[in-house]
C-alpha cells in the first residue's frame, strides 16, 4: 500500500476503467461523475415539472369552469401552425439524440452538425411562434385593455353567449394561459438555444468524446423535456375546438 506512488493513482484513478480522462477531483470514477450529473439534471427537471405543472393545473381548473369559452377561444388558434411546431420540435429531439450518440460512438465530427440542426429546428419553432403571436395581436386576442373577442360565425357567437353570457371574459383567461404557458415555454427554448451555442463552442475545441460527453447529454435531457411540455401544450391549447369547425 505504502509503495503505491501518488502519481500512479492520479493518472489512472483507483479502480477506474482505462482511458485518457479523469473525473473531477470529488469523483472516484467517470461513471460516478456521469451518474451525478444525470441525477442533478433530473432533479432540476423535477422542479420544471412543478413549474409547468402549476400552469397546467390552472389551465385544467379554468377549463373545467368555463368549457364553452375555452373551446371558442381555442378554435381561434391556428392548429396547423401548432401541429407544424410540434413536428419541428420532434425533429429537433431526434437531431439532439443523434448529436449525443455521435459523441458516444466517437464520430466527433458529427456532433456540431447535429447540434446546428437542432438549433435550426428550434429557431423555426420560434419563428412560427412569432407569426402566431403577431396574429393574436392583430386580432385583439391579447389579454388586457385591447382585448376584444369577436367570432366570425354569428351563430357560434350566439350559442356561446347563450351557454355562457360572460364567455368573452372567460376566453380572456384562456388567452392569458396561452401566452404565459407558450411564452415561458419559448423562453425555455431560447435558453436552450444559448446552451446549444455554447456546446458548439466546446465541441469545436474537442472537449467531448466517447469517454466524456456529460454536457451534451444533460443539455439533451433539458431539450427533450421542453419537447415533452410542448407535446402536452399542443392538444390542450390548440385542439379543444378543432371538432367544431
Amino acid at each position: 500500500m505504502a509503495s503505491t506512488p501518488l502519481v500512479d493513482r492520479h493518472e489512472h484513478g483507483y479502480g477506474a476503467p482505462h482511458g485518457h480522462r479523469h473525473p473531477a477531483h470529488q469523483f472516484e470514477t467517470m461513471a460516478q461523475q456521469k451518474e451525478s450529473s444525470t441525477l442533478g439534471m433530473w432533479l432540476f427537471l423535477v422542479t420544471e415539472i412543478m413549474f409547468f405543472g402549476g400552469l397546467f393545473t390552472a389551465y385544467m381548473v379554468y377549463r373545467h369552469m368555463y368549457p364553452v369559452a375555452f373551446q371558442v377561444a381555442s378554435s381561434t388558434l391556428d392548429a396547423t401552425l401548432g401541429g407544424t411546431n410540434t413536428a419541428v420540435l420532434i425533429c429537433s429531439s431526434l437531431t439532439m439524440a443523434l448529436a449525443i450518440r455521435s459523441a458516444q460512438v466517437n464520430q466527433l465530427k458529427r456532433i456540431v452538425p447535429f447540434i446546428v440542426a437542432t438549433m435550426v429546428f428550434g429557431m423555426i419553432f420560434l419563428g412560427i411562434k412569432y407569426v402566431e403571436y403577431a396574429n393574436k395581436f392583430h386580432e385583439n386576442h391579447v389579454p388586457g385593455p385591447s382585448f376584444n373577442l369577436v367570432l366570425e360565425d354569428a351563430q357560434e357567437a350566439q350559442a356561446a353567449a347563450a351557454a355562457d353570457p360572460l364567455y368573452q371574459r372567460h376566453a380572456e383567461i384562456f388567452f392569458s394561459l396561452y401566452f404565459i404557458m407558450t411564452g415561458i415555454h419559448a423562453t425555455h427554448m431560447i435558453v436552450g438555444l444559448g446552451i446549444l451555442a455554447v456546446l458548439i463552442y466546446f465541441a469545436r475545441r474537442r472537449k467531448f468524446d466517447a469517454e466524456y460527453y456529460n454536457p451534451l447529454e444533460m443539455t439533451g435531457l433539458y431539450w427533450h423535456f421542453v419537447d415533452i411540455v410542448w407535446i402536452f401544450l399542443f392538444p390542450l391549447l390548440y385542439l379543444l375546438g378543432a371538432h367544431t369547425h
Partner: protein
C-alpha cells in the same frame, strides 16, 4: 471503445423509429381532434400525448439505460404532478350547486 461506456448505445434505427412514431402520434392527435367524439375527445388526445411523452422519456432521454435512482427521480416528479392534478379535480370537480330541502315542507 465499447468498454468505456456505462450502458449500451442506442442504434440510429431505434431513434428513427421513435421519431416516426412521434410524428404519427402528432398526426393522429390532429385527425382525432377534428372529429367529434363527445366526452372522449380529451381522453384520446391525452392518451396519445402521454404515449409520446413516454417514448421521449424512455428512448430519447435514455431512461431505459438509466440507474434506478434516476428513474425513481423522474417517476417521483410525474407522480407529484398526478397528485396535483387529481387532488385539484377532487375539489373543483365536486363543486356543484346544491339545493337543500327546506325544513317543514
Amino acid at each position: 471503445m465499447a468498454e468505456h461506456h456505462q450502458h449500451p448505445i442506442t442504434p440510429v434505427r431505434t431513434y428513427v423509429f421513435v421519431w416516426l412514431a412521434l410524428l404519427v402520434g402528432t398526426v393522429l392527435t390532429y385527425v382525432f381532434a377534428r372529429s367529434d367524439f363527445g366526452w372522449a375527445n380529451t381522453p384520446i388526445a391525452l392518451v396519445i400525448a402521454v404515449t409520446k411523452a413516454l417514448l421521449v422519456l424512455y428512448f430519447f432521454m435514455e431512461l431505459r439505460h438509466s440507474t434506478r435512482m434516476t428513474v425513481l427521480t423522474a417517476v417521483a416528479g410525474f407522480f407529484w404532478l398526478i397528485l396535483m392534478l387529481s387532488t385539484f379535480m377532487m375539489d373543483y370537480g365536486t363543486r356543484m350547486a346544491v339545493v337543500l330541502p327546506v325544513p317543514g315542507k
